[in-house]
Symmetry: D2
Subunit: 142 residues, 4 copies
Amino acid sequence: MPLNIHIHKVQFYETDLMGIVHHSNYLRFFEEARVAWAVSRGILDYQKPESASHLAVLETRVKHLKPAKFGDDLHVEIQAKIEKIRIIFEYKLFCQAKSADAISECRTVHVALDENLRPIKPPHLLKTILEKEKWIETWLSN
Amino acid sequence: MPLNIHIHKVQFYETDLMGIVHHSNYLRFFEEARVAWAVSRGILDYQKPESASHLAVLETRVKHLKPAKFGDDLHVEIQAKIEKIRIIFEYKLFCQAKSADAISECRTVHVALDENLRPIKPPHLLKTILEKEKWIETWLSN
Amino acid sequence: MPLNIHIHKVQFYETDLMGIVHHSNYLRFFEEARVAWAVSRGILDYQKPESASHLAVLETRVKHLKPAKFGDDLHVEIQAKIEKIRIIFEYKLFCQAKSADAISECRTVHVALDENLRPIKPPHLLKTILEKEKWIETWLSN
Amino acid sequence: MPLNIHIHKVQFYETDLMGIVHHSNYLRFFEEARVAWAVSRGILDYQKPESASHLAVLETRVKHLKPAKFGDDLHVEIQAKIEKIRIIFEYKLFCQAKSADAISECRTVHVALDENLRPIKPPHLLKTILEKEKWIETWLSN
C-alpha cells in the first residue's frame, strides 16, 4: 500500500495574493512526504541528512485539481519504485475535510550521484528497499 | 504560562547552502506559533483567515543563539500582551533534543488596521483575550 | 522568436544544504519569466495584478539538466501558445557563464477561470496575443 | 554615503493572501542588498560563496512602515560598520514610485565564526573595509 503521511496545516507564508497556496510550494509538500517516507524506511536519518545528499531531482511533474488554502490539513499518499538507475515517486495530495479525491498529483524522478555529480546506481540499501515497495498503479503518465 | 506549541520538523527547503536554517525562515516559524496561539484562543479559524487579515506586522526582532538544522523538531513558547493599541508577542524557539535553552528569541509587534489601512484599536474580542494573557517577564528589550 | 528574459542572480535564500538551488524555486523562476512576458505583451500591469488573478496553474513539468548555484545569472527563454481553452508556456533556463545549453526546461499549463473558479475561454485580448506568438518547436512532450 | 542598490521587482511568490509581501521576505531583500554590498566591496565573489560562509546572523530587526506589493520596484540603502567583533548593517527599503520615504528599515548584526562555530575577529580584509565605510547616523536603535 502507498504510505499515507500527514504533512502540515497550510500556513500564511505558503499562500499568495490570489488567496491560495502558491504552486511552487507543492513541490515542498511532496518533498516533505518523500523525506518522511525515507525516514520511515530507515534510509534517511533526520539528524544525518548527508545520507540523502546525493539523490538528485531529475524531473518533477505536478497536476493541480483543486486549490489548497490557508489552514488546510494536508495528507500525502506516496509510492516509490526503481527503474534501472532511476528512482520514481508518485504522490497524491489530499485535504480530507474538503474532498475524498486528490487535490493534486505529482511524479518526481531521481538519480543517485557520485562525488563528481555523475549518475550512478542507487546505494544497495536503497535499491533493496525500493524493490520491496508496492506500486499500485501509475497515477501520472511519463 | 506561555503556551508551548510544536511547530514542525525542519525541512530541506528551509536550509541554505551553509547547511543551517536560513534566518528568514524563523519569522515563518514564529508566525506559525502565533497562528496556533490565535486558533487556541478562538480568535482565528483556520478555515476563515479573513478574520486575521487586518492585523499588520509593525516590527520584528529575532535573536539567534544556536542554529537550527534539517530534521530538528521545533517547539515555540509564546506569550502575548496588549499595550494601548499595539499587540506584542514574544517567542522562544526550542529544539529539545539539542538543548534546554532557547536557540532563538523573538519579539513581534502588531496593530489592527481599518479598511483604509489606518491603525485602530484591536477588536473587542482580541482585546479581552489579550488582557487575560499572562506575561511572565520580557524576554527581549524594546 | 521566444522571448529571452533576464531573471536574477541566485540568492543564498534560494539554495539548500546541498549547496544548490532547491528544486521548488525553479517554478518561481519560470513564473518570474511568465510575468515579465505578460508585462512585455501588455497583458499584465505590475501595478494591477488583479488582471492576472484568474489564470490558474493546471500543470507544471520541470526537467533538471544541471544544477543552478548561488550567484548564477539566470536567463529564461519563453514561448507561449493557446490550445482550445488551455494556455501553454515552455521555458528554457540558461546560466550563460556555465554553458550554452539549457540547465533546465519547463512546461506549464494554465486556464482562465470565472468567478466561481470554473474553466472558461481566455479573455479576448489574451487569446489574440497568444495566437500571434511564435512557437518554434515543442521542448517538452506532454 | 550609504550604497543604494536596486533589488528586484516584487514577485507573486513573495506575496501572501493579504495581498502584500509576506514580512519574512524582507530579510531576504536585505540579504540581497548585503550580498550586493559585499560583492561591490570585493569581499564576496558570486562564484565563490564559501568566502562568506562563516559570517553568522546574530540578530535581525525590521520596522515596517508601509507594505510592499506585487510589482513594486525595490531599492535598498545600506550602511555598515564594525564594533569590536560585531559587524552591523542598517538598511532602508524604498519603493520610489510610491514614496520618497523608506517603507521599511532594518538592522542586522553578524559575527565571523571559526571552524567550530565560535565567534572570532572578522577576517583582516573585511575589517579594513568596514573601518573605511561611512556610517551616516544610526537608523534603528539597539
